[in-house]
């Protein structure tokens, strides 16, 4: 799916020279990236290259300290916002490792989340009945067993169920910018297709996605507009969807051997 690039587009997300780390450890070392509404960007890269860190910094995880650079989200300074404010403004992170919250039902959790976001937008709360209707529809799309709604958030969920639950939450919360951190890991082949269908159903000219993955396979289902390679905290290579195939064939060593001139932001 492509949207006309010739027209003037306002960037949804602009990351400029982003440096971040934990304590003395530098993890991101000057990331540049621009994401426009309607686009899907894939980020690939070796283990430990900083992909989850980038996702965490965007979502506002306090563990990471931003030491340099700027991130604009819809023209606003994203880094100045609290994590919950970013979420309410439409940023959603599907976690690589979804967290368990014992004793809090998935249903309750998600309604509380939706209502918090609606409140931020000045919209009225949804009542239990309206919520159930909304949720039922999304569950159908994602082939979610109904009992997952009544169970505690992620508690005792299988690896695949957790990932599916993330995309289910995403569908319900209707965000503008979706960051998917290795949503494909732990999914069997059928589940991968279902989840990818769910994600694709959410693709729209008003929404953008950053899909972090190690595997070309996911990108066969969720076809990206751009593919970036993150290595040692920098985007060292960007290209179209073919890049994923090439990476799979040649491995990351091939990227490292290339000239540094090719690195940096796209365009």
């Amino acid at each position: 799916m492509e949207f006309p690039v010739g027209e003037k587009q306002t960037a949804m997300l602009t990351i400029t020279n982003l440096h971040a780390g934990v304590g003395d450890k530098k993890i991101l070392r000057g990331v540049n990236l621009q994401v426009n509404a309607g686009e899907v960007h894939a980020i690939m890269g070796p283990n430990g290259s900083g992909k989850s860190t980038l996702a965490g910094v965007l979502a506002g995880r306090e563990t990471f300290e931003v030491t340099e650079g700027e991130v604009l989200y819809e023209g606003k300074n994203l880094l100045a916002m609290d994590p919950e404010e970013r979420a309410a403004e439409g940023l959603f992170l599907a976690f690589q490792y979804p967290v368990e919250i014992p004793g809090v039902t998935n249903n309750y959790f998600l309604r509380a989340a939706l209502n918090a976001i609606r409140k931020h937008r000045g919209e009225p709360e949804v009542d239990a009945a309206a919520f159930l209707k909304l949720v039922k529809e999304k569950m159908r799309i994602l082939h979610m067993p109904e009992d997952l709604l009544k169970r505690s958030v992620n508690e005792g969920f299988s690896g695949g169920e957790k990932k599916r639950n993330e995309i289910f939450q995403m569908a319900v919360l209707d965000p503008k910018l979706c960051v998917l951190d290795e949503t494909d890991s732990g999914l069997d082949i059928d589940a991968l297709r279902v989840v990818a269908d769910g994600v694709n159903a959410l693709r729209s000219p008003h929404r953008a996605m950053i899909v972090i993955t190690h595997y070309q396979r996911l990108l066969q289902y969720i076809v990206p507009d751009f593919v970036h390679v993150l290595s040692e905290g920098r985007i060292v290579l960007s290209g179209g969807k073919e890049l994923a195939l090439e990476l799979e064939a040649r491995g990351y060593d091939w990227v490292k051997e290339r000239e540094p001139a090719l690195s940096g932001a796209r365009r």
């Binding site: 979502a59 506002g60 609290d82 967290v99 004793g103 309750y108 959790f109 509380a112 918090a116 919360l173």
Partner: protein, 483 residues
């Protein structure tokens, strides 16, 4: 941007909202404790001689006892028992006949605490006995309950109106010499509630007592006795608050439950919210309480549910003596300690009869510098064939300056018995809070949600009205997360 730890601190430093003082003239006995004081209290209450003698016996025994310093995890300054006022009552006429006669200031106090004393204003059927310092102010729905043969009144009134019942059961579960604080209570107890459920009667409404300490430098020593006959059922609730004061105040209550006949059932719920002291640990109530129930009838059942959020120090072990064959004891507890609060709480389940069963679910939440100890005893006597116990003790830590301790004692003298114990300790993780934040929930809401989720197994045991209050106490709205 605040860190998760900051949030936890904010959450745990919320103001005590019930700390106001009612300006009302009160009548007190002189400070200190001696036989004269006991005679004075007894005389004020126009008690029969047998009761005075019982008090004196308890007092004399108490003199021979040492204040216990049981547990290394509880620390507090020595209590000067001669510096306490043992009786304080709002200076009023006689006990009011109806609500209209209740001092408006007292009525306002209870309104402010969210306890409506006006029968028609109460939506759900809950009868209330309102105890202010040492006396019961009013008991609602008394007449209506009397039609069913149910007695629900203040303890003092029961002594006057139903002396035979009181005499027969007072001290029958918690003897006057049971422990230091029970002996003290037996000597100086002032008021509390009395409940009698006749054979085959299911009490149609929740009965509740609301305890309020108001007067300065006084102790509150209430006494509650609940008797349930064969096939009867009652659900009883207890709530309590106190003003914020710099000095510590002593609350040493005794509660006795007797499930006499076959299938008699008593459900006892507490939301304890005595003033916990300020954030530096100054002031607060010492809550040293003895609560015990005897399941005497076959297949009788006693269930304790408690939510302990208040008090500087809490020391209590609501217990069940399972005498009747097939009888059942339950204990569900949430204890939250923050700032410098200390709680040492748990239960004792004594299995005497055959096929007796007990369940213990304890949830301890420690925050700030709070210290939370679960201490429980499961004792299976020789004759208790096929007795079963299941215990689950979970601790949740908020921050890293607090502590959680678990001491399960198990004594089994019958080889056919099964005793299961599970325990866990977890910390509210930054991960959990961040996950909630990322879904749009504020840090405060996230902590509330996680804590409430943790307490769910206990909250679902509370009567609806109390579940709401308990949740509010932990700062959270009810819908869905519980139940």
């Amino acid at each position: 941007m605040s860190t998760a730890t900051d949030t936890i601190e904010q959450f745990t430093s919320q103001e005590y909202k019930w700390g106001f003082v009612t300006d009302i003239e009160s009548e007190t006995v002189p400070r200190g404790l001696n036989e004269e004081i006991i005679r004075l209290i007894s005389a004020k209450k126009r008690e029969p001689d047998w009761l005075l003698q019982w008090r004196l016996k308890a007092y004399r025994h108490w003199l021979t006892m040492e204040e216990p310093r049981w547990w290394p995890n509880l620390t507090y300054a020595k209590i000067d028992y001669n510096d306490i006022i043992y009786y304080a009552a709002p200076k009023a006429q006689k006990k009011p006949k109806s609500l209209d006669e209740v001092d408006p200031e007292l009525r306002r106090t209870f309104e402010k605490l969210g306890i409506s004393l006006e029968e028609q204003k109460r939506l759900t059927g809950v009868a209330v006995d309102a105890v202010f310092d040492s006396v019961s102010v009013v008991t609602t729905f008394k007449e209506k309950l009397a039609e069913l043969g149910i007695i629900f009144c203040s303890f003092s009134e029961a002594v006057q109106e139903h002396p035979d019942l009181v005499r027969k059961y007072l001290g029958s579960v918690v003897p006057y010499n049971d422990n230091f604080f029970a002996a003290l209570n037996s000597a100086v107890f002032s008021d509390g509630s009395f409940v009698y459920i006749p054979k085959g009667v299911r009490c149609p409404m929740e009965l509740s007592t609301y305890f309020r300490i108001n007067a300065r430098e006084t102790g509150q020593f209430e006494r509650t006795l609940i008797i349930c006959e064969e096939g009867g059922y009652v659900s009883y609730l207890e709530g309590c608050t106190a003003p914020m004061r710099d000095e510590n105040q002593l609350h040493a209550a005794v509660v006795e439950l007797v499930a006499i006949g076959d299938h008699a059932q008593i459900k006892y719920s507490t939301v304890q919210n005595w003033y916990p002291g300020d954030k530096d640990g100054k002031g607060g109530i010492y809550n040293f309480v003895t609560k015990r129930g005897a399941c005497r009838g076959r297949a009788s059942k006693i269930s304790w549910t408690q939510v302990e959020t208040g008090s500087a120090i809490t020391w209590k072990y609501p217990s069940c003596i399972l005498q009747g064959d097939d009888s059942v004891g339950e204990f569900y507890s949430v204890a939250l300690t923050n700032h410098y609060q200390q709680a040492d709480t748990g239960t004792k389940m004594i299995h005497v009869g055959k096929n007796t069963r007990s369940t213990i679910v304890s949830k301890g939440i420690s925050a700030g510098h709070g210290q939370n100890t679960y201490r429980g005893l499961v004792k299976v006597l020789k004759g208790a064939a096929y007795a079963r116990n299941y215990s689950q003790c979970d601790s949740l830590l908020l921050g890293d300056k607090c502590g959680a301790h678990t001491f399960p004692y198990i004594e089994v003298k019958n080889t056919t018995a099964t005793v299961e114990h599970e325990a866990s300790t977890s910390k509210i993780g930054e991960d959990q809070i961040f996950y909630c934040n990322q879904r749009g929930l504020s840090k405060e809401d996230a902590v509330n949600m996680i804590v409430n989720g943790f307490c769910k197994d206990v909250f679902r045991e509370l009567p609806m009205e109390f579940a709401v209050e308990a949740q509010k106490l932990l700062g959270v709205s009810l819908e869905g997360s519980v139940g």
